[in-house]
């Protein structure tokens, strides 16, 4: 039985108005208070008298008032585009125009605690792709596309509800549970952290985006508010480990630790059981288009620290298909591109022309036709059925004619015990086509140098996979606003301006 997000929230606001809904800047905001914020934002939104058959844009940084505005849109059944506010303003304008947004809304917290709505006009010089084939849409998220305009991913309310039902049951998200939210508001991860939690009566401990790399702040948030569920990219765990190293603290209240979005280094992984003594650990695989698709539970307490963590098994009702470049299904063990179909997935990009080559219909194991999403991830299915990530198909580069995955190279380097994190990037090269550059962060007290690292890699990598240049630092690698390694900024300095990674 699924209930809509807005209905679930309303139900908890009525039955348990004093229960905490959000933790923000160390203060609790109750369900009753958040409901009042939603109601005031909804009233202001209604006053704008915007056409009902068009979406709105939301331009807002994570905050209680931004969450109230999203709830107001959900309650009014108004589709909304929620892009990253970090995007360039021209990009945002183009996205809002493509979505056919009637206005771009920004929440405005009033001194009395109510939420006003500021509405900006949308430039009408962009190409509008609204409406999609199915207008049954609530959230519209964007992909973090590395090139060109991010793609708009509309989600049907039913798909979101289906996901919420799964996540709530799987991670015990219910009244009394506190869930940390590390990702920015526009991320699909928020469908679990924020939106499942508010539908199910739990409390969301919101990480302030401006302090997302402050380990002391993050550790205090988790400990002070007795957080039970944490979902984040590996960077968060690395920051917490560094804090724990100083003061020896642990997080005994955390029951579920979810890692996603980036490969978890073994050096981080092996310290997790000490940090979270009562938690279960999961590696989750998903895309914005499909939401969470596969999951692997890590049995870290039994000493299992695999070099290459499996991405796991398909979630219940999810179909996974591995196929070769020619479209042949890989049965049993083998390597190929991963295609997934989930009950949580989008019907397709808003700009339908982008669907060609990304969605394809095949029968699943039971013979039912499924519209699979091509993830672009190359995976290996092992004899025991577990699936590991080999790399992104778009991380493959040609080095002296050979097809090389920069992620395979990263994996090999990461296996060195003194390596904290690594990025391998392809630098365009007239002779070789591309040459590989590795930027490595070593443990501060290690003597790792490029020669000892090469010796470590020799048995693990083919000659063409060996980086041409290796730069070793003790500083953290450049990160994007979402905590993933920013590979464009890992290029050798003299190449940064001209290469596109």
């Amino acid at each position: 039985m699924t209930s809509s997000l807005a209905d679930g929230f309303t139900e908890h606001a009525r039955s348990r108005p004093a229960a905490p809904a959000l933790i923000w800047q160390a203060e609790a905001i109750s369900y009753g208070e958040l409901d009042e914020m939603r109601t005031s934002a909804g009233a202001d939104l209604a006053r704008l008298d915007l056409p009902l058959d068009r979406p709105v844009g939301i331009r807002a940084k994570k905050s209680p008032e931004a969450i109230a505005l999203v709830l107001a849109c959900l309650t009014a059944r108004r589709p909304f585009l929620l892009p990253s506010i970090e995007l360039a303003s021209d990009t945002l304008e183009a996205l809002f125009a493509q979505a056919g947004a009637s206005r771009v809304l920004t929440p405005d917290l009033q001194p009395d605690g109510s939420v006003g709505v500021q509405a900006a006009e949308v430039a009408d010089d962009g190409v509008c792709e609204w409406p999609p084939a199915s207008t049954d849409v609530s959230f519209m998220l964007t992909t973090s596309g590395s090139t060109g305009l991010p793609k708009i991913v509309p989600l049907a309310p039913g798909a979101v509800e289906h996901f919420i039902a799964w996540a709530a049951e799987r991670f015990d998200i219910r009244p009394g549970a506190t869930v940390a939210n590390y990702a920015p508001l526009n991320f699909d991860l928020c469908l679990l952290d924020i939106w499942t939690t508010l539908t199910c009566g739990g409390c969301v401990a919101l990480v302030d985006q401006d302090r997302a790399t402050n380990g002391g702040y993050l550790a205090a948030l988790l400990a002070d508010h007795e957080v039970n569920v944490v979902q984040a990219v590996p960077m968060l765990y690395r920051l917490l480990i560094d804090v724990a190293r100083e003061d020896g603290r642990t997080f005994p209240d955390v029951r579920h630790v979810l890692t996603t979005g980036d490969k978890m280094p073994a050096s981080t992984l092996q310290e997790l059981p000490g940090l979270f003594p009562n938690a279960r650990f999961y590696n989750i695989y998903g895309c914005t288009e499909t939401n969470d698709s596969l999951m692997h539970e890590l049995l870290l307490n039994d000493g299992e620290v695999p070099a290459n963590i499996p991405i796991g098994q398909p979630l219940p009702d999810v179909d996974a298909r591995i196929q070769t470049e020619d479209g042949e299904v890989v049965e049993g063990d083998g390597v190929g591109e991963l295609l997934v179909w989930t009950p949580f997935q989008t019907q397709g990009y808003l700009k339908s022309a982008l669907n060609d080559g990304k969605f394809a219909t095949y029968p699943n194991a039971a013979g039912d036709d499924r519209r699979y999403f091509r993830t672009g991830d190359i995976v290996r299915r092992h004899e025991d059925g577990s699936i590991t990530l080999e790399g992104r198909s778009d991380f493959y580069v040609k080095v002296r004619g050979a097809r090389v995955s920069t992620q395979v190279v990263e994996q090999a380097i990461q296996e060195h015990p003194d390596v904290i994190e690594v990025a391998v990037v392809a630098v365009p090269d007239e002779l070789a086509g591309a040459r590989l550059h590795a930027l490595v962060r070593r443990e501060p007290d290690s003597k790792l140098n490029s020669l000892s690292l090469r010796k470590h890699c020799t048995s693990r990598l083919a000659r063409t996979e060996m980086p041409s240049s290796i730069e070793i630092e003790t500083d953290p690698l450049p990160k994007t606003s979402t905590g993933k390694i920013d590979r464009k900024r890992c290029l050798p300095r003299e190449q940064g301006a001209q290469a596109n990674g």
Partner: protein, 86 residues
Amino acid sequence: MDDTTKIKQFIVEEFMPDVPVEDLDSDYDLLTGGVVDSLGLLKVVAWLETEFDIGVDDSELGPESFRTVDAINEFVQKARATSNAD
């Protein structure tokens, strides 16, 4: 300074400036280790020609002569012997 040390110093400065010279063993496989690639090979040859005043014939430019510091040193000694004999 002997020739082996000179070669080591050049390799380290040019291709792995973060490494202490004494860490580089004279029998370390520079090619398999990816220290010297085809472009690097050209740099090594250009340096050898200047540093040791030897001529390197393109036709004898096989990578095997440059696989290790020892191999490069051997190549230099041979080239010197040849030019002295001329």
